[in-house]
């Protein structure tokens, strides 16, 4: 007796990559920045990240359980959100900030719209914007990095971030380019080390999770525009690329599949738009950093971009 054969419409073979494998690659790509964060700010950073991941996955599970939906925590997208959320808070942020942030990102930004793939703004950035508005004191006290001290002193010294120094014109107090590149500067956990983020970003490009278009256009447009608007100060424009969230935003936030256009042409428009808004906020806004708002604003434009940017059809009669 023969068993039943499986029957389905073609194709009968599929690529190896899955949503889960892609998300896992993103998590791996984010690890160098975590190591850098721990190195500069101590193990508390690791604790915050673990809590953040736990809360994000937990909220997703609870929501899906309550509303009797398929449990999707296995796709690891909540893990990515959790890591990114932790990277967007200062190194001494209190735990409740993380819990609130996880709720906002997973429930308010993602699940109420239908879960993975349905959110129209980046969940981690939505939480960051929410926390900045609601808990600005906690979100804006940046401890000074204490290189290599895993268990940092209880009363960590806080200081201005390089971007704040720039905004206030205190250029003489800026850290060196090397420090800015390596991450020995004040800032959010995952943002400080441009080097670590670059390693992760290149990993994503090699693994074909992302293409070069968004990071290059985004970071490039910030450089060009800052140079133009800043009196052709090439050094300072170059230096500012390693500050704030440019690298994290360019490689990990502006490349989020769900909240960016699907076509390469659309992605370039998205990246240039975000780069422009980032620069304008940095140079002319009332706020030292513009990466998160620029990406959030461009997230809202994505449906329009996808609607109007047409792919060239094969054999299209022009």
């Amino acid at each position: 007796m023969e068993k039943m054969l499986m029957v389905s419409s073609s194709p009968h073979v599929k690529a190896e990559h899955t949503t889960r494998k892609i998300m896992l690659d993103v998590v791996i790509a984010l690890m160098p920045a975590l190591i850098a964060g721990i190195y500069f700010f101590g193990v508390y950073v690791l604790f915050l990240t673990v809590v953040s991941v736990g809360c994000c996955v937990g909220f997703e599970w609870i929501w899906e359980k309550v509303f009797k939906r398929t449990i999707t925590i296995g796709d690891l997208s909540a893990v990515v959100t959790g890591v990114l959320l932790a990277y967007n808070v200062p190194a001494r942020a209190p735990v409740y900030i993380i819990v609130i942030g996880a709720f906002v990102s997973i429930i308010l930004a993602k699940q109420v719209f239908g879960g993975i793939g349905q959110n129209f703004i980046n969940p981690a950035l939505a939480a960051r914007a929410f926390l900045l508005a609601g808990y600005s004191t906690d979100m804006r006290s940046f401890p000074v990095p204490e290189q290599g001290r895993l268990l940092s002193s209880v009363d960590a010294v806080t200081g201005a971030t390089p971007l704040e120094l720039m905004k206030n014109g205190a250029l003489d107090q800026l850290p060196s380019l090397t420090d800015a590149f390596l991450g020995n500067i004040g800032g959010c956990i995952g943002e400080v080390s441009a080097l670590a983020l670059l390693i992760g970003g290149i990993y994503l490009i090699i693994r074909k999770v992302i293409t070069w278009h968004i990071p290059v256009c985004y970071i490039g447009s910030i450089f060009v525009l800052t140079t133009l608007l800043n009196g052709f100060d090439f050094y300072q424009s170059f230096y500012s690329l390693f500050l704030g969230g440019v690298m994290l935003g360019g490689f990990f936030m502006a490349t989020d599949y769900t909240t960016t256009p699907m076509t390469i042409k659309g992605q370039i428009i998205f990246a240039l738009g975000a780069g422009m808004i980032t620069t304008l906020i940095r140079l002319f806004g009332g706020y030292p950093e513009g990466v998160s708002y620029s990406i959030l604003i461009m997230n809202l434009v994505v449906p329009l971009i996808d609607k109007y940017v047409k792919v060239r059809r094969f054999g299209e009669v022009v």
Partner: protein
């Protein structure tokens, strides 16, 4: 040397090494051979035999019904047992002529197709008559009647005759083996085409994963006007429109036929069949079938008589029923999954694949994450995810506006989707619904 290519597409795992070095073996059918009256695109044939008739090898069984249709001939000698509806590869029951095989393979002393007298000038009408009589169809799997392709409108000039040796579907090696072992027939067939289409350039395109076949064809094509070109290995290179683009840099306009850009495309095996029909008077009564997949213990390339039961072919290749979960007629990208193996091999059966659980994906679909991979790979420049949404919601006007009818159903979108969404499947259904509504 970099092969010629087209934009977008995918690089699946090819698994061609399983059978690419296995020589063609002739497999003989068992007691009963079944000839479905529809083995091609177009109208079904009408049987010209009745129960009890004795058939010689090559005798006509079914006559083409209209212009887009192709004759069917007996591949064996024996007596017509019954004419009835039987299951076919298409998944529907069709009228079939069942012949009891006497095992003699006797050839009719009075050949029904007289070989062409080579002293006479070969005109297009004569060529078309031969192709029509021999029931030649696109043997790559599409089974479009070849004489229809040859009947180009008088006002359109044939500038290129492109011979499709891309064989871009994974696993398949039947065309590769034809080029290696029966390349002479192919070259002679192309020469016949060139006699008729004098102003045309003939180019044979072969993917660069079949370098031996390429070299063989280059050697055979020496001292002939036939060009042999290497193509970059990429799916769906064997698609007619994409082969034209790769070899001539011309794009067939949306909704138009290749002749619009002066091209005519034939499959490798079909050209060999043209040679055998014209010079030897042989109709299409057998074809090369790749039997592969991890579910067979003895993967092979077989010359199978049309009408042979797929079960017999699988048993010949020592199928492992326990390991096999899915059996496919054709390639894994566009082939048909079979639910029954007691059906006959037809002219379009380029392969029979027995896939194991590991080889064939069965993960359930999940939410679209808007990664854009389907857009990045669609060789027709469509947005598969938008088409799928229109298709599953029944928004057919939107589907048409999104140029859904341009889809060639190659399956790149569904192959590449990380969320394993059934993109091409939904699009295929929508196309069928729209076509049914239009007619």
């Amino acid at each position: 040397m970099k092969g010629m290519t087209f934009k977008k597409g995918i690089h699946p795992t090819y698994h061609k090494e399983i059978t690419s070095n296995v020589q063609i073996e002739v497999m003989l059918p068992g007691k009963e051979v079944v000839f479905p009256m529809s083995q091609h695109i177009g109208a079904s044939c009408t049987p010209v035999v009745k129960k009890g008739d004795y058939m010689y090898v090559g005798d006509q069984i079914g006559i083409a019904n209209g212009f887009v249709s192709a004759n069917i001939h007996s591949s064996i000698s024996g007596t017509v047992k019954v004419i009835e509806k039987r299951m076919t590869v298409k998944g529907v029951k069709e009228t079939c002529v069942v012949v009891e095989n006497d095992g003699l393979y006797a050839i009719n002393p009075e050949k029904q197709i007289m070989p062409y007298n080579q002293e006479e000038k070969l005109t297009r009408d004569i060529l078309i008559e031969y192709v029509k009589a021999a029931g030649i169809v696109g043997l790559g799997g599409a089974t479009f009647p070849t004489h229809v392709k040859l009947s180009t409108p008088q006002d359109k000039k044939v500038e290129f005759i492109l011979i499709n040796g891309a064989e871009c579907e994974p696993y398949l090696t039947s065309d590769e083996r034809v080029m290696l072992e029966r390349g002479e027939d192919v070259i002679e067939g192309v020469k016949l085409l060139l006699q008729v289409f004098k102003e045309a350039r003939a180019i044979i395109g072969i993917e660069d994963n079949k370098i031996d076949a390429y070299k063989r064809m280059v050697t055979l094509a020496q001292d002939t006007p036939i060009e042999v070109k290497l193509l970059h290995t990429k799916y769906p290179q064997g698609s007619e429109k994409h082969l034209i683009e790769a070899l001539t840099s011309r794009q067939v306009p949306s909704g138009k036929l290749p002749i619009e850009v002066g091209c005519m495309v034939h499959n490798i095996a079909s050209v060999g069949a043209i040679y055998r029909a014209v010079i030897k008077g042989e109709p299409v009564i057998s074809r090369i079938v790749t039997v592969s997949g991890k579910g067979v213990r003895r993967p092979c390339n077989l010359e199978v008589k049309i009408g042979t039961s797929i079960r017999e072919v699988l048993e010949y290749a020592q199928v492992d029923w326990n390991q096999t979960v899915k059996i496919i007629a054709g390639g894994p990208m566009m082939g048909t999954a079979l639910f029954d193996v007691d059906i006959p091999v037809t002219k379009g059966t380029s392969a029979i694949l027995c896939l194991t659980k590991e080889e064939t994906d069965c993960k359930p679909p999940s939410n679209c994450i808007r990664c854009g991979k389907c857009v990045a790979v669609c060789p027709m420049g469509l947005v598969p995810i938008h088409l799928q949404k229109s298709a599953i919601h029944g928004h057919y006007e939107v589907f048409l506006k999104q140029n859904g009818m341009d889809c060639i159903e190659c399956g790149c979108c569904a192959y590449t989707c990380p969320a394993k969404r059934e993109l091409v499947q939904a699009i295929r259904t929508a196309k069928a619904v729209i076509r049914a509504k239009q007619s």
